[in-house]
Symmetry: C2
Subunit: 200 residues, 2 copies
């Protein structure tokens, strides 16, 4: 359906259609945009694609994005030691990082897990986390997992894997978002907000 009759352009459109959230129309717009750019820009893009794919590897410590052996956060001596934020994906750690609300270190589980569908966290990932907690003498693990059944089950699996260590395990609070309205909040959120109520 994406035929322009010009083979190389059709091939490019098919590639763009693989990008997340991109359909037929979007892929065509991207391809025409590329055709209209200066050659230098397209060459840069092609080079960046290849470099990102070859130069980026998982950080040896946290599993995040690294160009060297360690990612910029694990390599930063100014970050707090002893407190680790466990996230499912690198994307999640970057979101938290952008908001500047955490100055410890991360641990990336490496994927969204759906234990209900039989997708457990691979045991070597949990073993790696255990080893790290012991080696670094970590005192607190914050589970920054999504507020969903999957996130809940993933949180429990992580907790169970480290429950015997002398580490405080916490979880991000759920509740009414700032600026949100009680009138518009869903009942699951309201229930969690009620359960998590605090004395004034």
């Amino acid at each position: 359906m994406s035929s322009t009759g010009v083979f190389v352009v059709d091939r490019l459109i098919e590639k763009f259609k693989r990008l997340p959230g991109v359909g037929e129309k979007g892929a065509r717009r991207f391809a025409f945009f590329v055709l209209q750019q200066p050659s230098g820009w397209v060459e840069d893009l092609a080079r960046d694609l290849l470099e990102a794919k070859t130069a980026v590897r998982p950080c040896r410590i946290c599993g995040g994005l690294a160009e060297e052996e360690l990612c910029p956060i694990c390599a930063d001596p100014k970050r707090s030691n002893g407190i680790i934020c466990v996230v499912e994906t690198v994307e999640d750690s970057l979101v938290i990082e952008r908001h500047g609300v955490f100055d410890g270190r991360y641990h990336v589980l490496g994927g969204r897990f759906s234990p209900l569908d039989g997708e457990e966290i691979p045991s070597d990932r949990l073993d790696a986390l255990r080893r790290r907690l012991v080696q670094e003498g970590v005192s607190e693990v914050i589970l920054a997992l999504n507020p969903s059944v999957e996130g809940e089950l993933t949180a429990m699996a992580v907790r169970d894997a480290i429950v015997d260590l002398p580490v405080r395990v916490t979880r991000l609070a759920f509740g009414i978002p700032v600026g949100g309205s009680i009138g518009f909040v869903d009942s699951a959120t309201l229930k969690l907000a009620m359960e998590g109520r605090r004395g004034l």
Copy 2:
């Protein structure tokens, strides 16, 4: 704002942000998608980008997309001669092509023109169209321009440039879209539908 702390990934995200309709979040999703693809796929994408940019050139006759001297449509002996559909962009010709409602040939003006903002159609484009109409002995030119003030002014500019030639100049009909409802149609469309009414 797109910092991942990893230079090559940030550079890729900045590139993706240039694509039409892609913001910060979309660009990040694309970059992480690329990082998760097999190396072969990323290499293919980089090659397709470079090939599309270098191998594709304007068709010598119509200005459409071509890998050879002529585009697939101008090179096709089975297309009707003598009737030419004038479009602003290659994208527009591909849309008409996909719907399979026209079997003549195209002429691409090569951009959206906004005469109100002083963006006239370059005169060499109009000259090229004139020459082509004479050389090919074209009997009808269909102006497939958008139903907007710009499209209207562009249509008039094309018509004025060829009005002395023995060529019938037509325009796509405007009116109520099939499946559309009179109750929901805008007044400009309804006015055009009224003006274009036909005997039963």
